[in-house]
């Protein structure tokens, strides 16, 4: 519990309007999309790096924890104030500072909502590709801190591939710049990359410089249906092997399709067991050729339907299938564990087969969909927590799913991060030595362990 005089000091730094201790405020800044909940002692909404710096300096003197938070839409509890302390909300810092069309870079504050930024750069014919499912409400600061991905990562990469530089308040309160806005730059350590995906444990991001691309001239969307999961999974690696890199390559298994179809009646062919939603973008002539080549490549793999959108409206209609997945899943069971394993692209068929075996062994529904084009599969373990033993079973199944991904040369999490949710499983993937190096970095930057403590590494 924070001392009253410390609370007063915090209030002074951010102003009374931006400081809250009411029960309602504490509840509303104690949750995220994990559905876990912890109450902070107070909530602050600083206006700029200077205020953030003052708060962190005070935290080091008074030894209280600070938990940075964007929109609070994370899936692993990265922003949750476990153990109490101060929640520091970055959403007041929400300005797009500049979009530089000469150098194709932009500088933003961390509280800008991802889609708002995309809309603004697209007005200038530019493109910021990272597209996490939460892009309509998640913030860019959160995207960088968690290194958000999205369907377009197949071709364009993830958030960190677009971050050129940062302004960061380090845990001890100093304000530093990392990276810059030049394509090249090798002076000093690459702190920018270190901070991307650091889950708010190494610093609070107060400005971001992003790389931008020209907006693609055209795109083409294809919905392809296969008579087996294996066929669809093989199609993924066949397309990549065929030297075509689509913008997106979204996978949905039979269980997913059944859920969606039950609710929305999509009229997919009865013999369909898996769907790939494929999109290519670029020069109109080129994507025409690519679409044809994709068709020829996947034709022998049990393709039962190949629909190409003729216009934007039809494309939206095809994407609707994918967007309806999430709302439909809860028809299977009320509770879900949403994991986001990644395997090398060629191993997608193998990991799908392994998950099928795990599903049968534990006799709980596992629904798979996701960004198969980059090997990232969303594995949804659907349970009913009110039934005794189900949660325990789910945790065992999750552990085996992670192990399956690791055995194939993959990783436990492609996009969601570790936070609190995946903490217990960290030793499956990282050795004691790796964890040691990482914790050494944390100690060096945050000697008093005040910034987002208790996250990522098991205590």
């Amino acid at each position: 519990m924070l001392k009253p005089q410390v609370m007063e000091q915090l209030k002074k730094i951010v102003g009374a309007e931006n400081f809250a201790t009411g029960a309602q405020e504490l509840i509303c800044y104690g949750y995220d999309a994990t559905q876990m909940e912890f109450l902070p002692d107070c909530v602050v909404h600083p206006a700029d790096a200077n205020e953030v710096s003052q708060i962190l300096k005070l935290a080091n003197v008074e030894k209280f924890p600070v938990f940075p938070r964007g929109a609070g839409s994370g899936f692993t509890g990265g922003a949750l104030p476990k153990g109490g302390g101060v929640v520091l909300v970055t959403t007041r810092m929400n300005k797009i500072l500049r979009i530089d069309t000469d150098n194709l870079v932009a500088e933003v504050e961390p509280g800008v909502v991802t889609e708002q930024f995309q809309i603004e750069v697209e007005k200038l014919g530019l493109f910021y590709p990272p597209d996490p499912a939460s892009l309509k409400f998640s913030t860019l600061g959160g995207n960088v801190a968690e290194c958000a991905g999205g369907p377009r990562a197949v071709k364009y990469g993830v958030t960190k591939d677009f971050v050129m530089g940062l302004e960061v308040v380090v845990p001890t309160g100093e304000i530093i710049r990392t990276g810059g806005e030049t394509v090249k730059g090798v002076v000093g350590y690459d702190l920018t990359k270190l901070l991307c995906g650091s889950e708010g444990t190494l610093g609070i991001i107060t400005k971001i410089i992003f790389k931008l691309l020209p907006y693609p001239a055209a795109k083409k969307t294809m919905l392809t249906v296969f008579d087996s999961i294996d066929g669809a999974a093989q199609a993924v690696s066949t397309i990549i092997k065929g030297k075509i890199i689509p913008t997106t390559l979204e996978f949905m298994d039979h269980a997913t399709l059944t859920c969606v179809d039950r609710r929305f009646n999509l009229g997919l062919p009865a013999e369909g067991r898996a769907v790939l939603l494929i999109e290519v973008d670029g020069d109109p002539d080129l994507i025409e050729k690519q679409a044809g080549a994709i068709h020829d490549l996947i034709q022998p793999l049990g393709l039962v339907q190949f629909r190409v959108a003729k216009n934007a409206a039809e494309s939206e209609e095809l994407w609707r299938v994918r967007r309806l997945v999430s709302p439909s899943l809860r028809d299977v069971n009320p509770d879900k564990f949403n994991e986001d394993i990644v395997v090398p692209r060629s191993k997608v068929p193998d990991v799908i087969r392994k998950i099928e075996v795990i599903q049968q062994r534990y006799d709980i529904p596992i629904v798979n969909f996701g960004h198969a084009g980059d090997g990232n599969i969303h594995v949804n373990i659907m349970i009913d927590k009110s039934q005794a033993g189900q949660e325990e079973k789910a945790h065992q199944a999750i552990k085996e799913v992670f192990q399956a991904a690791l055995d194939l040369g993959g990783t436990m999490s492609g996009e969601h991060g570790v936070g609190l949710a995946k903490q217990p499983y960290i030793p499956l993937e990282l050795s004691a030595e790796q964890i040691g190096v990482m914790q050494g970095i944390k100690r060096a930057l945050d000697p008093n362990n005040i910034l987002n403590p208790g996250k990522m590494f098991p205590a």
Binding site: A23, Q24, E25, I27, C28, Q35
Partner: protein
């Protein structure tokens, strides 16, 4: 612990559906104005959950959070799990009103708005001094909640009350052509006391189609503004009265030109009034099935604006009232406008976004209400339209206020007014 039989128990199952994903942050107009989590849908759901658990009480903080909702339904439309936050907020407001009593309830409002401008305090004064000003308006009318006192209005623009209410101008039954439907007209307070021209236009259009129009004099306020304050007993009373009056009309349709009234008849009555009584529920369902928006009815009856013609040329943009949009009525008014000779329909950006009125929200959170409205005003101006048409007199009042304060001369009209102007003469 929360009292047994708390209205929140009604939504206990719905509360569990929210997974706190945050999607509502993208769609909630109240959140866009306040930028704080207790103002957004998932925040209110979380608070309702904790009220149910007994962790927090129905205190000023809970009141303040629950008051920051326009009941526009935007969050429900876009929610991946379709959590009915509007229902949850209504239940929470009812619980607040029950526990705190309506008077203390409004005193709490006073505390909440204590730091706001004098203008907002005027809203409270309206309840005390109301009888003087609203001599002609029944005590149960939503107008009393909607209108702060005009002489305390500051920069706010408020339309004048009509000299003679619509209901006093016409007989109870106006015969139409044989074979045409018998239509009961639910006028609504705004069209009765303020924008009587909407009532006249609706009537003219129904007569044009040969309908027999029944205008029951004993119809009451729909009760929706009382609902937004959690005064559920008033809503129940009004619902039962209106039900009896409208049933007695033996009409094929119950038509309304007020999106809010339509929302009450369609969704609110069955939801909060009918649940406790199966017989009443069935009758309310039958009423809801008959209830129809004027623009939709006109299309159904084959009204063809192309056959009308005449009148001035107008560039028009259309604003979707929340209570029409959430009922799925977006195409019908646009089709009618597009087909009207001399009318050029231009879409504004964010036509489907709430205007910021939200019943009493505008009264208790005027600054935020106008902050939401500012985007609307800008979008209307950007179209360069001569007029903005919409299907709700409440929205009209709010749109006019915003435009006039911006010194803009764009006309605000109801879709039916525009259509009627083409058929007359």
């Amino acid at each position: 612990m929360t009292k047994k039989n708390s209205p929140l128990e009604r939504v206990e199952k719905e509360l569990k559906k929210c997974v706190k994903c945050g999607a509502c942050r993208a769609n909630c107009p109240a959140f866009s104005a306040f930028q704080r989590e207790p103002a957004v849908a998932r925040g209110k759901v979380a608070l309702a959950q904790h009220i149910m658990k007994g962790d927090i009480t129905l205190d000023d903080g809970s009141y303040a959070a629950m008051s920051k909702c326009l009941l526009c339904g935007s969050c429900v439309e876009k929610c991946p799990n379709v959590v009915p936050t509007d229902e949850i907020v209504v239940a929470a407001r009812e619980a607040l009103a029950q526990q705190r009593g309506l008077t203390t309830f409004h005193q709490a409002v006073g505390r909440v708005v204590a730091n706001r401008s004098l203008m907002n305090l005027g809203a409270l004064a309206a309840r005390i001094l109301g009888p003087l000003f609203f001599r002609k308006v029944p005590a149960t009318s939503g107008l009393r909640l909607r209108f702060p006192l005009p002489f305390l209005g500051g920069t706010r623009h408020i339309p004048q009350l009509a000299k003679k209410p619509f209901l006093k101008r016409h007989p109870e039954e106006i015969p139409g052509k044989p074979g045409q439907p018998r239509v009961a007209f639910f006028v609504g307070c705004m069209s009765n006391f303020v924008y009587t021209e909407i009532g006249e236009a609706t009537l003219a259009l129904l007569q044009h189609m040969g309908c027999t129009v029944v205008i029951p004099k004993l119809q009451n306020c729909c009760g929706l503004p009382a609902m937004s304050g959690g005064d559920i007993n008033t809503v129940r009373e009004l619902a039962e009265k209106n039900l009896a009056v409208l049933e007695a009309c033996r009409a094929d349709y119950v038509v309304t030109s007020c999106a809010t009234c339509g929302g009450a008849l369609h969704r609110l009555y069955p939801l909060v009034v009918g649940k406790r009584n199966p017989e009443l529920a069935e009758r309310l369902k039958a009423l809801a099935d008959k209830c129809i928006d004027t623009a939709v009815l006109l299309q159904k009856l084959g009204f063809n604006p192309e056959e009308t013609g005449g009148g001035e040329n107008l560039k028009v943009t259309y604003h979707d009232p929340c209570h029409l949009r959430t009922a799925g009525i977006t195409k019908e008014p646009r089709r009618l406008l597009t087909a009207t000779p001399g009318v050029q329909l231009v879409e504004m950006e964010g036509a489907d976004k709430c205007c910021g009125l939200g019943g009493t929200f505008n009264v208790y959170h005027y600054d935020s209400s106008m902050k939401i409205n500012a985007g609307k005003t800008a979008a209307i101006q950007a179209t360069g339209a001569d007029a903005v048409a919409t299907g709700c007199p409440g929205c009209m009042m709010q749109l006019s206020d915003g435009l006039k304060q911006a010194g803009d001369k764009t006309k605000v009209i109801h879709t039916v007014q525009l259509l009627a102007s083409k058929i007359r003469r």
